[in-house]
């Protein structure tokens, strides 16, 4: 019986802790930023895509075939969406040599920046005190980004990162077992998707859509299309589409 109480108390403690996670925000805008349709040139950076499996223990095992499939499917879906964003979107022509390495490093910096926004801005309980003032949403990759080969002449750069860890059979069985027998929540799979718009004059992040649990199986064309539509949901300057289903209101960080 004593053990029973312990487990119950532990479960209660877990529930209490899980609550703040539910209040996570997913979209942020730099205060005062607006983008009218047909006024800007946006350069679409090559998306950073990684797909793999999640082992029973939770570790990530990259899968080259899945990553190739996702690259092809997401590439096609992005190309299709590109024309419907309200502004001129051009694909970044990947530079050669050192320029290619720098472009890759900038994409990695964008991913780290988006991770930081999720951890220290989108979770209100964990927000950094200097980021709490007013409607502050001040994040940047630095104005030096304007020197990157291939972005000259554009006003904004659109960065996209996706990372998917599909739960292995073992992981899924563990999830079912843990939920049914031990009453513990074990996550199966990671499906993170970040899309962010960088002002090329300042390097400031003016819009970010970032979620660690996105929908759409990127290994299939249909899933990739769904993922891209989620990534670009609420994209600044995008003409409003007729909603298929009433969408739940999105919480905005800049408020």
């Amino acid at each position: 019986m004593r053990r029973g109480w312990g487990a119950l108390a532990c479960a209660a403690a877990l529930t209490l802790v899980a609550a703040p996670l539910a209040a996570q925000e997913k979209t942020g805008n730099k205060p005062g930023f607006t983008l009218a349709p047909g006024t800007a040139t946006i350069v679409l950076m090559r998306p950073e895509i990684a797909v793999g499996a999640q082992s029973t223990g939770g570790s990530y095992e990259p899968n080259a075939d899945w990553t190739d499939q996702a690259r092809e499917n997401l590439g096609r879906a992005l190309a299709e969406a590109q024309g419907k964003l309200g502004n001129r979107v051009v694909t970044h022509v990947e530079p050669v040599g050192q320029g290619a390495a720098t472009a890759h490093e900038y994409r990695a910096l964008f991913t780290a920046l988006a991770d930081s926004v999720i951890t220290y801005q989108f979770f209100p309980g964990n927000r950094l005190p200097t980021k709490k003032r007013g409607d502050s949403f001040l994040w940047s990759i630095g104005s030096e980004v304007a020197k990157l080969p291939g972005v000259q002449g554009a006003d904004y750069a659109l960065f996209v990162t996706t990372e998917d860890h599909y739960g292995s059979t073992g992981r899924k069985l563990l999830q079912v077992f843990a939920a049914g027998v031990a009453g513990i929540g074990v996550s199966a799979g990671v499906h993170k998707g970040y899309a962010g718009l960088i002002d090329l004059k300042t390097g400031d992040l003016v819009w970010l859509n970032a979620d660690l649990a996105m929908g759409g199986d990127v290994r299939t064309p249909e899933g990739a299309a769904k993922r891209v539509s989620q990534l670009l949901e609420g994209f600044p300057g995008k003409p409003v589409e007729a909603p298929v289903a009433p969408a739940a209101p999105t919480k905005t960080a800049a408020r």
């Binding site: 109480w5 890759h104 490093e105 780290a112 309980g125 990759i141």
Partner: protein, 195 residues
């Protein structure tokens, strides 16, 4: 009663990363850091993270520890580690030694990072003698990359050993933009250190 205790432990274990409040460090006021006698006076505002990398350390940041990370190690005693052990049995962290010299500090940092971050990509770029908090000390620079991330970072450290204890401040950030943007604020904090 036991149930309550288990609940409290469970809560503490799980809640630490989420509920550990981040605090504002105001500019211009002396502040004791890393639960020690080490005091610094920052000239700009910082955020102190609720999560600590080890028992006698604390981290300050502007934009999150992945973008700019200033960590204080306040009086690490002999036979203690810089960080919490990741796997004490299979990969024990190096320990501070009573016989350590200041020139051993960069090696201690290097070997601790290689284990804690599980990365082979760590290089000490340079070192030179420089007083720290009025004691004979060292300044060193380094670079490293975390595994599963193609984002090279640069770091700079200032440290001294006094009374057998290690006092150390490090700053690290991605070499693109963030290191250069934050290193002057770090140097100001390091120069203001008092023991």
């Amino acid at each position: 009663m036991k149930g309550l205790r288990i609940a409290a432990i469970g809560l503490a274990l799980v809640a630490a990363p989420v509920l550990a409040g981040n605090k504002l460090i105001p500019a211009g006021q002396p502040v004791a850091v890393a639960k020690s006698v080490l005091t610094v006076t920052p000239s700009v505002e910082w955020n102190k993270l609720g999560a600590r990398p080890g028992r006698n350390s604390e981290t300050w940041t502007f934009d999150g520890d992945a973008l700019n990370d200033l960590t204080f190690y306040g009086g690490i005693e002999p036979e203690q580690t810089l960080f919490r052990e990741v796997s004490k049995r299979t990969k024990p962290l190096p320990r501070v030694k009573a016989t350590m010299l200041v020139t051993d500090i960069p090696t201690l940092v290097e070997n601790s990072y290689r284990i804690a971050l599980d990365t082979p990509l760590f290089t000490v770029e340079g070192m030179e003698p420089m007083a720290f908090a009025g004691k004979p000390g060292i300044r060193f620079t380094y670079s490293f990359t975390r595994p599963n991330e193609d984002l090279p970072r640069k770091g700079e450290g200032r440290g001294a050993i006094t009374g057998g204890k290690l006092y150390l401040i490090t700053f690290e950030a991605p070499r693109l933009h963030y290191f250069d943007a934050g290193v002057a604020a770090f140097r100001q904090v390091a120069n203001s250190a008092k023991l």
